[in-house]
Amino acid sequence: MVEHKLLEVKDLKKSFPIKAGFLFRHTVATVKAVDGISFSINKNKTFGLVGESGCGKSTAGRSIIKLLEPTGGQVLVNGEDIVPKKDRRLIKYRREMQIVFQDPTSSLNPRMTVGQALSEPLLFHNMVKNTKEAREVLGELLLSVGMKPYHLDRYPHQFSGGQRQRIAIARAITVDPSLIILDEPTSALDVSVQAQIITLLKKIQERLNAGYLFISHDLSVVRFISDEVGIMYLGKFVETGDTDSIFDNPLHPYAKALLEAAPVPDPRVRRDRKHLISGQVPSPINRPSGCFFRTRCPYAMDICAKEYPELVEMEPNHFVSCHLYKK
């Protein structure tokens, strides 16, 4: 029997139409938010999706669990493509895949107690018979995320930001998912609380043996938590592969600039930024021809304006998409 990967994303695409007109709505342009990305996640492994705002990382995460309908490509969960599946036939996969959002204040319903919010997924997936049974399960669950069983009867506003994120994580793991999408789960938190949440996520991963898709703009956090990373720029991977290999030896000019731009908490490493890039990310509606990064790239050549570079494997499990690198 062939051993399937937990998640395999092949050439995933998601574009949004931009409509104009009052009576006769017509599409004037499309934003290719995610434009053909491929990667896979194994059990107990974390794939980090990094990039600046607007690069399509959140759209990718949402398309994978079908909160957004992908425009193209395949999303294989344990070998089965879930892109064509609809409604009821998706329920089975919904239980396998959960998501934790950035802002726990807006992702928890303020009018539901923690107990109500957490028992919904259990009841929906028929994992418990009634609310009473759910409460027993949930008490244990809250303990495992560092909360107390009596917190079940409280409302979200009674907790701090870090505690709310613990509740959001608890909600995601109620149904024992095998894949968890973490969309900037620590960005809204303070430094000391961020470390608690990251440590908690690692602990839960070991227990559930789950695969994580960790979406973040914070490079230090991604380096810590990920086994593999993909660096996105305007909907495509510019560089992807093994975390240490990429962070220790970035190849793509954008990856170099991104890593050099991030400050390091050590006053003796004050940076002399050679690769500081100017300008900002171009509009995704009107991407440059050829390589999307060429307008900001210090090494842009003629060919860069003509064709988009293919991803090539320069080191074992280290791919880069740049005309500077040829196999």
Binding site: S53, D190, V191, P263, V264, D266, I277, S278
Partner: protein
């Protein structure tokens, strides 16, 4: 060493709420010299923004400055001067407008909300310049163009006609910095100026602020929750927690031999970009609630080094070395002796 241009002494800023008093800033002391970057680092609610808002006289009801002094070296307001310093906590009404914007200016975190969306950049820049420098519109426009050029905006003359929505986040922050430095202030306060920006844009803005600071030799108070940004920018660092100064020293001391348990634990719990770590070392517990907080060390519930003395009173801010102040009964250094409370002006 020269005299500091700003001396904040035992500043206390409270907010009286229906539920009780919030001691947002409770005994904070620091000073700023010419050509020096003071970094204030702390988590949400540690009082860093309220500290600098107090310095700018931007505390409104129900907040008030409950104690301490903010001494600013200036030639303005000669009647209120004492030894060349004016105590900003004593200013009333319009008196502050002589100082704020002109001698001390502040840049806020969110470039989306600190510009008025219905006025052009020109109008917002010229307003500040004409008000403080008492020059006519034509001259002011020249100053504005010059300032926008300094902050690295292309086509400054055309940019003047833009509305804020036509600019990106980084460009907006550049405009705000231009407004901030347009009157050549002695002290520029930057309250989380890069938090809302992407990392490549953040790097651009940090470089810009360093360049401008070395050009103008002004004092810069830089607030952030990001220790990496502090390490990059600051000469001296004040670590705040629960409204109090916990540790104050030069940037190398803070990062290499922090003495306060909070500073040390905070540094141990951040993920690093430059090295592979196997585990983080999180600080257990939650940041303190500030409402009706007990008169004890705010870090006490989370502190691994608490002693009996900690349960009785707030530790004083003591000088343990030259230019190194720590508020702790049981700091990490061994040769600690509790000497009498010293001020932070050296």
């Amino acid at each position: 060493m020269t005299e500091p241009i700003l001396k904040v002494r035992n500043l206390r800023t409270y907010f009286s709420m229906a539920e009780g008093t919030v001691k947002a800033v409770d005994d904070v002391s620091f000073s700023v010299h010419d050509n020096e970057v003071i970094g204030i680092v702390g988590e949400t609610g540690s009082g860093k923004s309220v500290t600098v808002k107090s310095v700018c006289g931007l505390i409104n009801n129900p907040g008030f400055v409950a104690g301490g002094n903010i001494l600013f070296k200036t030639n303005e307001l000669p009647k209120l001067q004492q030894d060349g310093y004016v105590d900003l906590t004593k200013l009333k009404g319009d008196q502050f407008t002589k100082i704020r914007g002109n001698h001390i200016s502040i840049i806020f975190q969110d470039p989306m909300t600190s510009l008025n969306p219905i006025f052009t950049i020109r109008r917002q820049l010229l307003e500040t310049i004409m008000f403080h420098q008492k020059i006519d519109e034509k001259q002011a426009e020249e100053v504005a163009v010059q300032m926008l050029g300094k902050v690295g905006l292309g086509n400054p003359r055309e940019r003047l006609q833009n509305y804020p929505f036509e600019l990106s986040g980084g460009q907006r922050q550049r405009v705000i910095i231009a407004i901030g430095i347009s009157c050549n202030p002695e002290i520029l306060i930057a309250d989380e100026p890069t938090t809302a920006l992407d990392v490549t844009v953040q790097a651009q803005i940090l470089e810009l602020m360093k360049d401008l600071q070395s050009e103008y030799h002004s004092g810069l108070i830089f607030i952030t929750h990001d220790l990496a940004v502090i390490a990059e920018m600051a000469d001296k660092v004040m670590v705040m927690y629960g409204g109090k100064t916990m540790e104050y020293a030069d940037v190398y001391t803070i990062f290499e031999k922090p003495q306060h348990p909070y500073s040390k634990l905070l540094l141990e719990c951040i993920p690093r970009l430059d090295i592979r770590q196997d585990a983080l070392n999180p600080i257990p517990g939650q940041p303190p609630t500030m409402l009706n907080a007990p008169d004890l060390c705010p870090f006490l519930p989370r502190c691994p080094r608490k002693t009996d003395a900690c349960l009785k009173q707030v530790p004083p801010l003591v000088q343990i070395e030259e230019n190194h102040l720590v508020r702790c009964f049981n700091p990490f250094g061994t040769k600690t002796q509790v000497v009498k409370e010293k001020s932070a002006d050296q």
